[in-house]
Amino acid sequence: MMGPQALPGPYALMRPRALLWPALFAVSLLLALLSVQIPAWLLRPPPTLMIDLAGATSAAMKWLVEDATFGLFTVKEATRAIATLVEVPYDAARILLVDGITEGKGRRATTIVPPISWIAVTAAMVALGIYAKNLWLGLLIGALFLYLAVFGQWESAMTTLASILIAVPMGVAGGLALGIAAFLSPLFNRILSPVLDLMQTVPTFAYLVPILFLFGFGPVSALIATVIYAMPPMVRITTLALRSIPPELQEFGRMVGCTPGQQMRKVLLPVALPDLMVGVNQVIMLSLNMVIIASMIGAGGLGFDVLNALRSLKIGAGIEAGLAITALAVALDRLSQALAARSGQGAVVTGNWTRRHPKTVAVLVLIVVTGVAGLVLPWVQTYPKEAMLSTRTFWSDLVEYINVSYFDQIEAFKDAILINVLLPVKRFLLALPWVWVLALATLAGWQLGRARLALLCLGLGLFIAVTGLWEQAVTTVYLCGISVIIAAMIGVPLGIWAAANQTAGKVIGAFIDTLQTLPSFVYLIPVIMLFRVGDFAAMIAVVLYALAPAVRYTAHGLRSVQPELVEAGIVCGCTRWQVLTRVRLPMALPDILLGVNQTIMLALSMLVITALVGTRDLGQEVYAALATADVGRGVMAGLAVAAIAIIADRLITAATARARARLGLAGE
């Protein structure tokens, strides 16, 4: 590894090439001002260029659902069979947690054996917490589950938990299988990689309709959509973890005569286990992110409660159900992280089975005891209504108070930003000729990654143009772009603060954890009440959601700057400010860029939610397509979002690599 070279300073700006982009920007401004005189076919992609990809996709989908056949059976029969198969474990989980064993069908069903009582479920979670780490974790998880009971969210939370319990193993198993296959076969890896990109960037709404067609209406479709959304990180982490195993270990396996299967099961996977657990954690968190969207197509549970409460403007009820999702997410996150840290260790206890598993025994006993006791004492089975707490009126009163007392100030602030920033930028971007924008993107690709990247930018840009979604795509870039800049302007300083001060770090960490797990729909309604329907409200929602990675990566980057470099700066007589601006920030730049990249991805994934506010971007296209069950239109708009995401991702990744090389940091 090379030593740190001269730090990039103002000199970098002196190079003539650095003047290129300001010059191009000036030309863009000029073009935007002249746009009235520019012929229409230069301003917007002409209709003759457009290809009816949406119609073709719809037709293909229709064929797939109605006519496609594997010979003995049709595609639809196959997908329906899968749906039935998935339904079995899902029903089992529901029986344990929600429904109990019932007699009769549909709503008339009567309970014969009740589900596991709230006391037993909470106790089981506490026991798991103690097993995974220590008593403190157990108590934290116990408290979170108690919140669910006390605030009357129990039944919905268990419905959600039941679907998470099915979706996560499916996501993990699928991710593991694909990840291993990609590790073993480079060819498969090359095919899979772009598919994963699409799975992560195409908004979920875009594939909900095809899934509904194939798997039918109901919780199973919601489960499958959740798995598709939550699986990609597991695939990536599996491949990465297997690749980073030292070759000596693989040699060792071969030397002792392992078959390929044994090699994988007994050597590679156990070694990779701690990394794999990080993937499991990601799958859990992403599955919980999907709770709201899944409830739109029949998953029920907490997501449905949030939607339903907010649709009738019961803000307090919505916030309580939303916080229940956060509680569930925090409990499962801490638990899986503790299990990840624990994996690979663990003391061996001898004795018979009951001696070895005292906690399991205790929980099993408790399940039976509370189950029987619940027949006589209803409060043992279900948490009593009389003892429930609610903060509902507090939340709605709070929003009303702010609305009535501070609306004028809020409105003035909003108007100032709207008139001076949002509207001019929107007009500027929409006035740019499409050929020019395409040329700029291609040029950026060329500068950062030569022919390959330039071609990628050009190709994806052309794709957007021929789908006829240019205007929506530009609106998307405008909304996400401004939101990302604002999120970075707030997030990077917060990250710096979090890195400088431990207490601040903890508070900020808890704050962004909540922002990320609290379903955005929960704060969307108060935001609309205070800022009205429009771009500004959408922007606030995107900023709130996309803030987290900017904070996290900045703090992480600053913390991991080599201490010797900081020492060196201090020895040279730098002030604290100089150490920060001249040493730490430049060295943390690659991490910060990575954070910005993630912020962009999150901002794009919020598009569909902002469509619920009422925007005119690609998110709205996707959402409108869902509402009209127009498969082709939704898929095309979804792919256009993916195209923007991939362009942004590749450009920033290339820029990060350059920054790393310049700073003499080891490349990835």
């Binding site: 549909g106 709207l418 009440m529 869902l626």
Partner: protein
């Protein structure tokens, strides 16, 4: 909730067991009714479900999108949609019926109304209302920074249609349509404006809790006629179509074509189902304004209207 329904149905069963024992149903398979995203539809569907259960059928309620549900109905995944508004779903419903896999179960008896609407306190600030001709004089009042100098009209989600842009152009209104993304967003703005007693002009539909909770009035546009939408010559402006108010229309029921063959008794009950706007409005108000649980409101209706629904399942 299940507890109460069960107790009531148990009581009913005991009370009626001497005379009309639970009918022998044609199929034990659950009949799937769709739920969408507004309270009135929840109530209609839950009442229908309760009635079918009284008749001995097994019922399942499935969350499905208002328009996306038609693909599920056509394939037989879903069986009954209880509220299809002529104003918003007519095209989708007729297209679905044209496939031969969906059939109409008639009207619900409720009439859908959708129109521009303003809260009652705006009448003082803009004295000419509810006549549409007064709107232009008050455009400044309804304007925001985004739309000024034009007035701001908060429209429904783009997918709801409604031809408001066309209406504004053909009637020469000095207004701009801002589309909300969902009706939740729309009513969030209404609630906020009402709390501050601020001007707002928006799309409201009925039966809905909003016009019950917030007193207000509909704008009176030139009366709707079919020709007004299709023929520029008709209506206020001889050169443009859509120069009139929005149509009102019945709320239909429809469902899977195979329902009648599989559960003939249920099909008969679904066809017989009727409800008035007033009944529905009162129930929606109880749920959304007074905060009474939906199940209790449904149970209450079932007890009070036993004579009505027993006729449906005879």
């Amino acid at each position: 909730m299940r507890q109460t329904t069960r107790l009531i149905s148990l009581g009913m069963a005991l009370g009626l067991s001497a005379g009309a024992a639970l009918a022998q149903v044609e199929s034990e398979d659950p009949i799937k009714l769709t739920l969408h995203d507004w309270t009135g539809q929840f109530i209609t569907t839950n009442i229908m479900a309760a009635v079918l259960e009284e008749a001995g059928y097994n019922v399942e309620l499935v969350q499905a999108d208002y328009l996306a549900q038609f693909s599920g109905i056509e394939s037989g995944d879903l069986h009954v949609a209880m509220e299809l508004w002529a104003t918003t779903a007519a095209d989708a419903m007729n297209a679905s019926i044209a496939t031969g896999n969906t059939v109409s179960f008639g009207e619900t008896g409720m009439q859908a109304k959708e129109e521009w609407w303003y809260p009652i306190y705006m009448k003082e600030k803009c004295p000419g209302l509810p006549d549409w001709k007064a709107l232009n004089a008050c455009a400044e009042l309804f304007a925001t920074a985004e739309t000024a100098p034009k007035g701001r009209y908060l429209g429904g989600p783009v997918t709801w249609g409604g031809y408001d842009e066309e209406r504004i152009a053909s009637l020469g209104l000095n207004y701009e349509v801002i589309h909300a993304g969902t009706d939740a967003a729309m009513f969030a703005e209404l609630e906020a404006a009402y709390q501050r007693q601020d001007p707002i002009l928006m799309w409201i539909y009925s039966p809905h809790w909003a016009p019950i909770k917030y007193p207000g009035e509909w704008i009176e546009f030139p009366a709707y006629s079919a020709e007004c939408y299709t023929d520029p010559a008709a209506g206020e402006n001889p050169a443009a179509a859509y120069d009139c108010g929005k149509p009102t229309g019945p709320i239909y029921k429809a469902g899977w074509v195979g329902l009648e063959g599989k559960w003939p008794g249920a099909a008969k009950a679904i066809k017989a189902f009727t409800m008035t706007n007033e009944e529905m409005g009162a129930m929606v108000g109880k749920v959304d304004v007074e905060g009474i649980p939906l199940e209790d409101v449904v149970d209450e209706w079932m007890t009070a209207n036993e004579a009505v629904w027993t006729k449906w399942i005879e």
